[in-house]
């Protein structure tokens, strides 16, 4: 039996290792490519150990940009992406927690209807409602603005649902105790619900930040100015040049840079919400 289990373990590790290789290799290749000059990448014989162009590539990418296609330094694009992702994440948390609070704790006419209307928007992702959304944003004069990038992506039900489910698990007695302690609706929200929701907020922040950071279709549609493009759009533009060689080393460097903030957010927030999970108890 013991022998048997050992072989099974080896087999399991082997399968996992192959899986990791398949997933990690392209990422490694991108990192690798960001350390060579264009000629080395294009001739098709790129070595599997890093080259010596990293400093040059990262400097050029961050502060100068691809020479023909994007015309803007990638640091600018990263800033755009960051503002958009933060805007979406924070805006979504704000809107969701407030609407969930209303739906769970207030009794008003058509409460169920309101909830179902919010719920139904789950079935209408950005791509489905993209034409009317574009029309509205254009009519409001929000093309090529951060507001235009952020606002339409905030409006959806995922966060509201998440907070609603969480609020439903909070015992009613807590609200009643607050009432007797003289805390009104806003105080209860601020003093009790918010501190208890920290974990949920952290989880939603991670999901929404990455969702916002990776947006492709919407920024592609509504941004035309170079100084408003996001990093995802930047990569795409770098890859399709009309009458010149693709600057692969810049594109790959940009791709590597595009991975950094989401990774940081996950690492940082993970610590935060593990702590939150340990600390809260209903």
């Amino acid at each position: 039996m013991v022998e048997n289990r050992r072989y099974r373990n080896i087999l399991a590790y082997l399968v996992l290792a192959v899986g990791v290789l398949i997933v990690a290799f392209p990422v490694y290749l991108a990192i690798l490519a960001s350390t060579f000059d264009a000629a080395t990448i294009i001739n098709g014989n790129m070595p599997l150990v890093p080259g010596d162009q990293a400093g040059e590539n990262y400097y050029r990418t961050l502060f100068i940009g691809a020479s023909r296609s994007t015309r803007e330094p990638v640091s600018m694009m990263m800033l755009n992406s960051f503002i958009m992702a933060m805007g979406i994440a924070i805006g979504k948390i704000l809107i969701s927690i407030l609407s969930a609070y209303a739906v769970v704790y207030y009794k008003f006419p058509l409460r169920r209807t309101a909830f179902w209307i919010i719920f139904i928007t789950l079935m209408l992702p950005v791509e489905v409602r993209i034409y009317p959304t574009y029309k509205i944003v254009a009519d409001l004069g929000l093309l090529d603005t951060y507001t235009g990038l952020i606002l339409p992506l905030i409006a959806s039900a995922t966060g509201t649902l998440l907070f609603r489910q969480f609020f439903m698990t909070i015992p009613d007695e807590l609200l009643e105790a607050s009432k007797i302690d003289g805390a009104g609706a806003f105080r209860f929200f601020k003093d009790t619900l918010l501190p208890l929701s920290v974990t949920t907020m952290a989880a939603l922040f991670v999901i929404q930040f990455i969702y916002g950071w990776n947006q492709y279709l919407w920024p592609l549609l509504i941004t035309t100015k170079d100084n408003m493009q996001t990093i995802v759009i930047g990569i795409k533009k770098m890859l399709t040049t009309q009458d010149a060689l693709t600057e692969w080393q810049i594109a790959m460097t940009t791709a590597v840079l595009a991975m950094v903030p989401p990774v940081f957010v996950v690492i940082f927030m993970q610590r935060f919400f593990v702590k939150g999970l340990v600390e809260t108890e209903k």
């Binding site: 015992p171 807590l174 009643e176 009432k179 007797i180 208890l196």
Partner: protein
């Protein structure tokens, strides 16, 4: 300090369900009033209406001289202890107790003084900085009480506060609640389904059933002279035996052909009419020459006492006797009973048929 008075208070829920059907009750200043009854009898709803957590569908609730029907819970000058404690999980014990005072803008040093004092009374000083999750059930219960004490309210409301504790702790906390209430002298209203808690804690015992008050009185009054069959069987453990009988007249009733004399019997009951006879298991004496005979099925040992289960006049019957008084292998018991301990009830209305 203030008393509480209820005047035909009703609660009607959506769908015309009447949970509380016109309850009137006066609770004297400084007394300990216990509302007891089976689940669904409306006792918690009544308490929550006094607290202001449920709207009042009809009638009037007064705390002191003030009608509080339309007053917010925070302004009713009450404090409540919940069954699941309802402590704020993210706040320390100190903050849990101070929160209500902070909200009413009490000066900081006054808050500190009151919290420290409450903590001293409840012996929870050593964990003021801890979070509720780091406390045991009994300690959480104390904190919940501390939160009520610091408010210095006119009335304490307890909603089954001991139900989440284990049996041993429950007895201990029961004694502490009683002692605390005596020491502070604050009017208290306490809801429970446990009749032992109800008997031991109350100055005034209110037995409820089906949204109505069955009987109000001191614990011994309620135990000694239950006004309805419901109260008779609900208060007391093991419950009172109820046997079908017939009126013989002359202060006597018969059970299955065996005759029994009764001291508290209404005049003018028709001879031969049906009646229900209630006998408490602990009031029945077994001896050589009794008026009633009973067949024993089995015996339950409780240590200090024994319960003899059997049949009398065709109905189930329990006799409680100190261990050793009756041979445990007895098959037949001859029972006698003091006429003062026989309770009679109308089979139709279930009301007591005692002297007017």
């Amino acid at each position: 300090m203030a008393g509480v008075s209820l005047d035909t208070v009703r609660k009607i829920y959506a769908g015309n369900v009447e949970a509380v059907k016109g309850v009137s009750l006066g609770i004297e200043d400084g007394s300990f009033c216990v509302l007891v009854g089976p689940s669904g009898c409306g006792k918690s709803t009544l308490l929550r209406m006094i607290a202001g957590l449920e709207t009042i569908s009809g009638g009037e609730v007064k705390i002191g001289d003030r009608v509080v029907n339309e007053i917010e819970p925070a302004d009713r000058d009450i404090a409540m202890v919940f069954q699941n404690y309802a402590l704020y999980p993210h706040m320390s014990v100190y903050d849990n107790m101070a929160y209500g005072l902070k909200n009413r803008k009490t000066p900081k040093d006054e808050i500190e003084k009151r919290v420290k004092e409450a903590a001293r009374i409840l012996a929870i000083e050593s964990f003021l900085e801890r979070k509720p999750r780091a406390l045991s059930g009994g300690q959480r219960q104390r904190v919940a009480m501390g939160r009520a004490i610091v408010r210095k309210p006119q009335v304490f409301l307890f909603d089954e506060p001991l139900s989440n504790l284990d049996a041993k702790l429950r007895v201990q906390m029961r004694v502490e609640i009683k002692r605390l209430q005596r020491a502070l002298g604050v009017t208290s209203i306490y809801v429970t389904h446990d009749q032992v808690e109800a008997m031991t804690l109350s100055d005034k015992l209110v037995v409820m059933s089906g949204g109505q008050i069955e009987q109000v009185g001191s614990p011994s009054e309620v135990y000694r002279r239950p006004e309805t069959r419901f109260v008779a069987t609900f208060i007391g453990s093991p419950p009172m035996n109820i046997l079908p009988g017939k009126v013989e007249g002359n202060g006597r009733v018969s059970i299955g052909g065996q005759s029994l004399s009764v001291s508290d019997m209404r005049d003018g009951l028709a001879v031969g009419s049906d009646i229900e006879v209630g006998l408490r298991p602990e009031d029945v004496r077994a001896g050589a020459t009794g008026q009633l005979s009973m067949n024993v099925d089995f015996v339950e040992e409780l240590g200090a006492t024994q319960l003899f289960h059997g049949k009398l006049g065709g109905a189930d019957f329990i006799v409680q006797a100190p261990t050793g008084q009756i041979a445990a292998d007895a098959k037949q018991l001859s029972l006698s009973i003091d006429p003062a301990n026989v309770h009679l009830f109308d089979p139709q209305t279930t009301k007591r048929l005692g002297k007017a």
